[in-house]
Symmetry: C2
């Protein structure tokens, strides 16, 4: 099948149209009219079979996840996701697989109001998917990694370690959190004007939080007793629980810093996802871990991209 | 080496900064303030080792080409290229290879005034590079595939078939045209207000021109005697020459349609790349080939993405 038939058949579906997309799939490039007083937010993330998802993952989940991990990066700026481009490299055309992949991809697009506006379909020996996501944020309001202030709370959404546990226990209900991450798009937008810095958790809390600390030139203490974990993890030793929660990858939760006053205001607005204060920002550089006020040794490592 | 060290060491180079990039590499997403009265043009193209370039290709050429093929798609809209994101999947970290790849990538960025604003570096069994390119075009002026009018000339830039010949004759000087394609960015911009439709040639003239004919709902005649080819091809039989020129991929020249009056005006402005009128648009659908006014059988096929 020629690339063009694949595009026509699978990718030119009429989902979630954005009003300011002037040209989508089908020309040399897509064409977008920027909304007034907004800045463009853009990122790209790649999923490689066997590396970023187990080879046993369903095509539907791969489609969903390839979009979701990118929307998570858009959400982490406080931006509203808008559209994606899909660069997919396939060993061969398997119609069933492509059907299911597209259903998963478009399900995620639909859920978050995102349009597929372009891409490239290529043949290669190993399944590799790179999605580029675009979003918009009001001018000057994007939440970066560099704004954390001394005294700020460190807050995470949802639960930590679910996906890492799921990866170690394929077939367990928590595998769903590995296969179908939930980008926190509503929460991300909601945090505009509240959070002082933000990142999404993909490589494990410790490693990702460190990016905020470095960019903001501050330190932090994490209170291990406050880590939000699923009850499935509660029968494990504390060390094991912490390992999943602070070093496990693929959470795709938001981690942000916020002043205590802003946090109070935020909670009054009852955001529709659970939030946990898991520590605070300090002037002393470095990251300290405590359990019930006792310092714990730090010998955890997050996901290494090249092992 | 962790992904972050690779990014810091190789990709965070201070080249070709764009004034309206508010955040580049180093946060969850890049942040761009759209210029006034412009539309965003965006595309993505993937290069897979052994498929889109021979495994013997130098890292420097792979770096150049991965940018150039995308800028060609931006140029084909009449847009000015602005920035790129790089998603690269590498089997392992070879410092020499990465050094040379980056030199080639940044050489192309420098040449066309493009900034690397983000990306993702992943490990996987097969070298795969997806670049997303962004550009800007004055509102309402983008040149699409759908505007060809009956009576328009069909014009191509540069020479056709060089890269296909180079691929069949590795070591020949024309291999340079395969390894280092020249995106026609200046010409693309120049054609705003002149050309009625445009596409860049990546899969071979016949296949790519067909996209213009389909999108514009018109037909065409190509005059084979007018195909601009390198003198290296002139010792071949006419059939072989044509095969390279109309069915060979990887030209990355622009093919556009333009009214005879506009073409006259354009030539008076002496664009700095050679142009050849190779045919004309007609109402009768389909594509006809003639040689000195005699119709020739059409049994050429362009590049097939899935073979």
């Amino acid at each position: 099948m020629a690339e063009f038939s694949i595009i026509d058949r699978y990718f030119k579906q009429k989902h979630a149209r954005q009003s300011n997309v002037n040209l989508g799939i089908g020309d040399d490039s897509a064409l977008i009219t920027p909304p007034e007083n907004q800045q463009l937010v853009i990122c790209t993330d790649t999923l490689v079979e066997g590396r970023h998802f187990p080879s046993s993952t369903t095509a539907h989940a791969v489609g969903w996840k390839s979009v979701a991990v990118n929307l998570s990066d858009i959400a982490a700026m406080g931006a509203t996701p808008h559209s994606i481009l899909l660069a997919i490299t396939l060993p061969k055309i398997q119609e069933d697989w492509l059907d299911n992949f597209c259903q998963g991809l478009f399900a995620c697009c639909e859920q978050y109001g995102v349009e597929l506006i372009g891409g490239d379909t290529t043949q290669g020996p190993h399944l590799t998917i790179s999605v580029t996501a675009l979003g918009w944020v009001p001018k000057g309001q994007a939440i970066t990694r560099s704004g954390a202030e001394i005294g700020d709370y460190i807050v995470v959404s949802g639960q930590l370690g679910d996906a890492a546990f799921g990866l170690q226990h394929l077939g367990h209900p928590l595998q769903k959190r590995l296969d179908y991450p939930t980008p926190r798009c509503e929460l991300g937008k909601h945090l505009l004007g509240f959070a002082s810095s933000m990142i999404d958790l993909s490589d494990g809390l410790i490693q990702d939080l460190q990016h905020i600390l470095n960019a903001s030139n501050v330190g932090a203490t994490l209170q291990l007793e406050n880590l939000p974990t699923d009850h499935a993890l509660h029968s494990l030793s504390r060390q094991q629980q912490w390992q999943y929660a602070i070093a496990g990858g693929d959470d795709y939760e938001l981690c942000f810093t916020i002043s205590p006053e802003n946090y109070k205001k935020l909670c009054l607005q009852k955001p529709n996802v659970s939030l946990s204060v898991i520590g605070y920002i300090e002037s002393a550089l470095g990251l300290r871990l405590t359990y019930q006020n006792e310092e714990q040794a730090l010998n955890f490592h997050g996901y290494q991209h090249f092992a």
